[in-house]
Amino acid sequence: MNVLVCVSRVPDTATRVEIGADGKSINNNGVKYILNPYDEYALEEGLRLVEKNGGEVTVCTVGADVCVDILRTSLAMGAEKAVHIKSEETLDSFSVAKNIAEVAKSANYDVIILGRQSIDFDSFQMVSMLGEMLELPSVSMVAKLDINGTLVTGERDIEGGKEIFETSLPAVISVQKGINEPRYPKLPQIMKAKSKPIDARPAIETEKYTSVLSMEIPAKQRVGKILTDSDSDINELVRLLREEAKVI
């Protein structure tokens, strides 16, 4: 079974976002970048599939030269190959999907797995765009996945519950947190990853579908009334919530 796992490089969740000089992206100074947390679940799911069925996992990312670090992390976790589609410029979702679709068309992957979203732009677009571009079935937010032969069954999270689904390979799947417990790369794997191949190629150019005009930090004025733990202050909090804020 050949699995393609799409990964992206994102600021660590502890990052305090500041707007950069261009006014439409973040200031990178001091920002620590990591493998997108949801992609770790995608990669773990792919690795478990090939451990059970044979085959190999290829990881793929679209981005600048610096993205090589998350590819090495992915190779250390157990992927055998990596494809690095290089672009120093930030591409829009359509263009990223188009580039990954080209990679997918050049090899016969049985399943393409992604994280439910990348935690930078939170766009939730890749899984369905790839499904459409490759004319494959796609399912997002998958919290449980079973693949037997070409039969795919599983559960996906929806508001207030889960949908139980069935489809067949080849398919595109995006996974939810909790589907598995991602492994930590061990030192021998980290060493071995250094000699695994990374196929670097330039991004194909596509027309711009969307563009970011500006970015800002949302500011909300807060009341900021901080009380003590006395009984009268606890009663006062209830009064404020009922009469001033009118929320309970």
Binding site: R16, D122, F124, I158, K177, T210, V212, L227, V247
Partner: protein
């Protein structure tokens, strides 16, 4: 609103993102509609990108605001889980937006008549490859991302056995229970309750944070709440900086009294 197209097709009796995207694209083409809106929920977020590829449309997801500027629609969209907001636009003739639930309000239509038509669509077998075979609802539990009142607990609760403090307060105000990442990672609570950058983004009318210090990733997931209340024994906890109301105190002492007071009034 002047026209409603109704699609009746037995292939649409069960949800398929591909079949719905194909149907919408067929209507948009037939009616020359160049702007399409979807809800940014677990269905719209699957259908919209497929429609965008079919119609070669520029698609912006999870919008919280739309400004009409000449011929352009400028969409506001939270990024980095709400730590920042971008303004962006579609560069294509066809434009698709998915809108975050509970942000936009409906207004009265001033059109005098609405035409309702049946619209026939072609759905091919390749659009029916995913079948929904069942549905399980989280019985009796309000989902944290849908609730208009949320009470969340953090590591300061010291153990899963103490979460009744959070649940009791949530029950007293009719709210859902949420949890910090630390608590979910420790296995005290299911990940479906996690609020924050790798959990759910919530914007209820009232968000009460109990024994949650307020890590950046947690604040990102709840800072768009209308009213934020924090109870924490550390007066310097970052959560107080985003709080409308707060109590500096031990949750084991303060929260049961707070719950009792609310219950006595209702």
């Amino acid at each position: 609103m002047s026209k409603v197209n109704v699609i009746k097709n037995s292939n649409l009796s069960s949800y398929s993102s591909s079949a719905i995207a194909s149907s919408v694209a067929q209507i948009a083409t037939a009616e020359s509609c160049s702007i399409i809106f979807y809800p940014a929920n677990s269905y719209g977020l699957e259908i919209a990108p497929r429609t965008a590829v079919k119609l070669e449309a520029g698609y912006i997801s999870d919008c919280i605001g739309l400004d009409y500027n000449g011929g352009d629609i400028i969409a506001s969209k939270p990024v980095y889980a709400g730590k920042a907001v971008t303004k962006s636009k579609s560069e294509r003739t066809n434009k698709i937006f998915s809108l975050r639930p509970n942000i936009f309000t409906a207004s009265e239509s001033n059109s005098t008549s609405v035409t309702i038509c049946d619209f026939a669509v072609n759905i091919s077998d390749k659009d029916l490859k995913v079948k929904i075979t069942g549905l399980s609802k989280n019985e009796g539990k309000l989902d944290v991302s849908e609730a208009d009142k949320v009470v969340s607990g953090g590591r300061g609760l010291k153990g899963p056995e103490n979460f009744y403090i959070v649940e009791d307060l949530a029950k007293s105000i009719g709210g859902a229970v949420g949890a910090s990442r630390a608590v979910v990672d420790a296995g005290w609570r299911p990940h479906g309750e996690q609020v924050g950058q790798t959990g759910k983004t919530v914007s209820p009318n009232i968000y009460i944070a109990l024994a949650i210090s307020g890590a950046v990733q947690h604040l990102a997931g709840m800072s768009s709440s209308k009213i934020i209340v924090a109870i924490n024994k550390d007066k310097d906890a970052p959560i107080f900086k985003v709080a409308d109301y707060g109590i500096v105190g031990d949750i084991f002492d303060v929260v049961p009294k707070l719950t009792a007071k609310i219950n006595s009034l209702s």
